[in-house]
Structures are given as structure tokens and as C-alpha cells.
Symmetry: C2
């Protein structure tokens, strides 16, 4: 009893049954399943990637992307949780992307995330997604901007991206974020170390968390001193604030929220926000173009064209550079033919 | 007293004074200075790279490229030295590229290399070049094929490429070589380990060096057993030979040389040599083409075209994928315009 419409193996799961416009409508109206489904599609480099991106892009640009970074153990996850509570109290819709493999938000299942996220798991205004444990094509650097786009289009006012450290090759959160929060803790990240690690340069707001611990005053003082020495762009000097974020405490978190909001306004008024987003879009376009060219080059593998170029080089009739010029020319013609 | 022809800073050194055709003539007639100069030019990604490659390529293809690889401490350099002696005794011209940073051939100055190379340093039929200590654009993976081309065109019958380990990301010697010798020593690289490391797959000839040590018999036995299990291509089953290569001994080296020669003949008769060289040329052409496309993309940075694509994405009028298609199209048109 084979149904010819679905083939002998029975109805195919996945691609066939995905209705992208419907998912986008669902996401925009606040359906968490649609949001989760769209993120899965873009994470897995689904063949629908392009369709999803095209459907989402017109609805993006509304979210403030806030990077939360700092060394392991500094309290990124508790701070993120406290920020979510603060944004929710102000009526904002919030997304969280946990890119740090050591984050308690990470570890795979959305259900697991929800359990760990505790307070916010059943709140309709919060989406939480762990990225770190998934294996996908191109890694986190590829899939995080895609997931951001989903949350942005789904109407999040703020998306918090929690990542480990600065200077990770995997993902430089500062290059994704509108506003980058760098968290330090007394005794572990003193000012000089932070400066050496390049942390001060990427920070829009510096947070000394666990500020009830010994040494907090010194860390704050050192950071302020180093910031005085330089690093002011168009009127924004990164503030240093003190927090004690934990399940029991949100000391300093309201001030931190105020700094994040102040930075958002500065991004708009100074034009820096537009500059950062342009830079981000430029990099994404370039990355996709490089991937596309590589894939076309891969398609040429085993083609007569490339084989005959290699043969010409082996015969000494041309050299690899001229052969490469010719290859680029052929790729160019191929893309010109695909033109509108 | 400024000479207008050379500018106020006096005669420019370098580029102006390089006569590529003259250097190529010099190298082909056996002048070691010309060979060294050409290698320096290609290593440093000189603007003359293309001219050098074009001048050399017609004279290449004569050399058998023999990779010598294996874990540190296995005796790669003494074995290489013994092989050089053997090839010289047979009247062959030999080049050596030492890519292993721990090799005694490495460490910078050609003079230093010569001192360490001892016996062969003053022999006109041997070129020795250390690659590992130089910092150049694109790294060893880029400059080693270039240096190989110089030695090939200079009339070397054999070029020995000595590298550390297999599976290095820096340079996979097997992908460069016509014939790959994998060296192991008793007790350090037993058969199972070698199989796990993927060493057996790339080996054309397996060498158990330091074969006077305890455990050599077992290592040879294990390797032969594993080779019996599979791994025979078109009539070539990698032989396992035993050597004791040192300043005082060349036990087993004549047999090793015979295997290398036998493999060379098999490469020709089976067509595998041509297949490997085609694969190598293909990869080099692709690598140059990718570098060229990346550079053109870099040139577009800050251009009106890319900026306006980014602006379209930000405005939600297009998505990054369609923008990337457009970018590729523009690169394609640029290359089409550069056509012959």
C-alpha cells in the first residue's frame, strides 16, 4: 500500500511539512513553539535557511542585543537571570541565547533550560535557548546571528547573549552585540589583567559582580583609573557598576539596567548603533558570500574545467596563479549567469 | 642631491634589483644563491610571486617529492641525512626542505643549516632549506609548495620534505609528497597506535628506525599484520623496513632507498603518480583562487556597493543571503572584466 505522493518509505518528516510563513506568523504572535522550530531550522543549516532569513529580515532591527561576557565563575548566568527579571518587570520581552558551554542554561534540551531557568521558564515573555551543546555546520559563529534574527523578529525587545570569555575564536560576542557587558569579580579579574586581556576595549559597561567580596573596592578603583586613561568614544565612557547577583539578591541590578538603557539611547543619538549594525550586516554578508563561493568551487571539483586547468599546470603550459585567475573567472561567469 | 629617478630616500633595495629570469637561469644552472633567493622571494609572498611561479612552472615535474614524517625523536633528521648520502652516491641531485621546527636543520640561517648538515653542506648537488622558523603570510602550507617548485625547477631529482607528525594542521606532508615515508621507533610507535593515528593510511613506505633497539621485531610484526588486513592500492602494499640511521650507521638505508625507487616506478606505471600530482595542482589552484577572492572581497570593504547592501539588509528590504548573492555577482563581474 504505497502512497505515490509520499513515496514507499511513508510520509517524509521534516522538510515537506514545514510552512515557513506560518512559523514566522506564529513566532511574531508570540508562539514559543514556532520560535523554537525556527531556531532549530537555522541552527541545522536547513535547506530552508534562505527562505527563513528572507521571511524574518523585514521584521528585525527592533531588539537591543546585549552581550554578557566574562571569565568562568564570575556569575554570568545569575546576572543574566537578574537582568531578565528586571527587563520583565519593565514589561520588555526578552530572549536569552546561552553560548557558554559551562552555563547552567546550556546542556541541550529546552526543557532542561526551562527547569534551570526557574522563575522565567513559564513566563511567555521570555525565550531561552542554549546554543553551546549543539553540533552544527559552521559552529556558533554561524548559527548565533541566525538565532538572534529569529528572536529579534519574534518581537524581543532585548536579546541577552551569554558567552564565555572575550577573545574566543568561536564567537566574539562584542561583534554581535549592540551593548557588551563585561563581568569581573574581585580577586579574579583585576584591572591590569582585564586590560591585558583586551576586555576594556570591548566593554560598554563594566560590571564588578560579587561586589560584597573582599577586594571589590580595589577592583572598581583600578578599572575606573584605567578607563580614565583613555577609551572614550563620542561621549560614551564605560561605567563601572557593582552588583551582587544571586538567587537571593539583585543588589546593583537596577543601576545596571539603567546603564544598559542609557547605552541604548546613546547608540541611537550618536549614530554608533547604526555603525555597529552596519558592520555586523557587512560581516554576515561577506561570510555568506565566502561560503557560497567555496561551495561553488566545491561543485567544480571533478569538473572538466578544473581538471583541465590542473593538467595545464602539470604540463607546464600555465602556472597555478594564472590557472587560479581562470578559475575565478569561471566562478564569476557562473554567478553572472545567475544574475537577476 | 636627490636623484629624481630613485626618489629622495635613495635607490630602493629589493624589488627593483630582482631580475627573475636571471635568477631562474641561475637556479637551473646550479647556482645555490639563485635557488636561495628564489625561495626567499616565494616564502615572503613577494609581489613577484606570480612572475616567479610563471617562470618556474615550465621547468617543474622532474623531481620526486619524498615526505619524511613521524613522531618527534624517531630519527627523521638522521634518516634524511642518510637518504641524502644515498641519493648523492647514486648521482642524484637532492633538495631538503625541513619543515619540522624541532629538526636540527631548522633554526633559521642557511649557514647554520649547512654547519649542522655536516657532510652535505659543501656538496653542490644538495640544497637544504629550513622552512619552520620563518614567519610568512599563509604559513607553511602556503610556502612549502612554492619552495618545492623552486627546487624542482632547479633540477633536483629528489626533494625530501621533513615534517613532524602526521595530521598536523600546518602541513600534511602526504598531500604534498609523491612518496611518503612514515618513521616509527620501537616502543614509541607501536602498530596499534600508528593505526589509530591514521599513519598507516598515508604511508607508502613504513620505516622502523632504531631497529637495533628492543621491541623492534614486535613493532615490525605488528605493522605487517595490520598492513595484511587491508590497505593495498593497485598493487602497492607499503613495505615495512628496518633501519639504524645515525652518524655511524646506515644499516637498512640502501633497502629503504630501493623501496623509494620502486615506489617511484610504481607511481609511473600505475598512473597513481599522475593522479596525486593532479590532486596537488587542483588544491593549489583552489587555494590561490580562494585567497584571490578573499582579497577582492577585502577590496570591497568600505566600497559603496557593500555599504549599500548592508544598508538594504538593515532596512529589511533584503536579507543577508540575497545580499551575499549580489556581492558574489559583483565579484564575478569584476573577474569577468579582468578576463583575457
Amino acid at each position: 500500500m504505497t502512497d505515490p505522493a509520499v513515496g514507499p518509505a511513508g510520509p517524509r518528516r521534516g522538510r515537506r511539512s514545514v510552512d515557513v510563513p506560518e512559523l514566522v506568523r506564529g513566532a511574531r504572535s508570540g508562539d514559543p513553539r514556532s520560535v523554537a522550530r525556527l531556531i532549530s531550522l537555522v541552527e541545522d543549516a536547513s535547506p530552508l535557511l534562505r527562505e527563513v532569513a528572507a521571511a524574518l529580515t523585514p521584521h528585525t532591527g527592533g531588539a537591543q542585543v546585549v552581550g554578557v561576557t566574562g571569565p568562568p565563575g564570575v556569575g554570568k548566568s545569575t546576572t543574566t537571570t537578574a537582568l531578565v527579571a528586571g527587563f520583565r518587570a519593565a514589561g520588555r520581552r526578552v530572549g536569552v541565547l546561552a553560548v557558554d558551554p559551562s552555563s547552567p542554561f546550556s546542556g541541550g534540551a529546552l526543557l532542561g533550560d526551562r527547569v534551570r531557568m526557574g522563575d522565567h521558564a513559564l513566563d511567555d515573555g521570555v525565550y531561552i535557548r542554549s546554543m553551546a551543546s549543539r553540533g552544527h555546520l559552521g559552529g556558533l559563529a554561524w548559527s548565533t546571528p541566525q538565532a538572534l534574527r529569529v528572536l529579534d523578529a519574534a518581537g524581543c525587545d532585548v536579546v541577552l547573549v551569554e558567552t564565555v570569555g572575550v577573545g574566543q575564536s568561536e564567537l566574539e560576542v562584542a561583534s554581535l552585540a549592540d551593548t557588551t557587558l563585561v563581568l569581573l569579580a574581585p580577586g579574579m579579574g583585576d584591572g591590569v589583567q582585564a586590560a591585558k586581556a583586551g576586555i576594556l576595549e570591548v566593554a560598554d559597561v563594566l560590571v564588578v559582580n560579587k561586589a560584597d567580596r573582599e577586594g571589590a573596592d580595589r577592583t572598581v578603583r583600578e578599572l575606573r583609573a584605567m578607563l580614565t586613561l583613555g577609551h572614550e568614544q563620542d561621549g560614551w565612557r564605560p561605567p563601572v557598576c557593582r552588583t551582587v547577583a544571586s538567587r537571593e539578591s539583585d543588589t546593583g541590578v537596577p543601576e545596571l539596567l539603567a546603564h544598559v538603557e542609557e547605552h541604548r539611547r546613546w547608540l541611537v543619538s550618536s549614530g554608533e548603533g547604526q555603525r555597529r549594525r552596519t558592520e555586523r550586516a557587512t560581516r554576515e554578508i561577506e561570510a555568506i558570500a565566502v561560503a557560497e563561493l567555496r561551495s561553488r568551487m566545491g561543485d567544480l571539483r571533478g569538473s572538466t574545467a578544473l581538471a583541465s586547468l590542473a593538467a595545464e599546470v602539470l604540463a607546464g603550459r600555465t602556472d597555478p596563479y594564472r590557472a587560479a585567475d581562470e578559475l575565478v573567472r569561471q566562478l564569476g561567469h557562473a554567478s553572472a549567469r545567475m544574475g537577476p
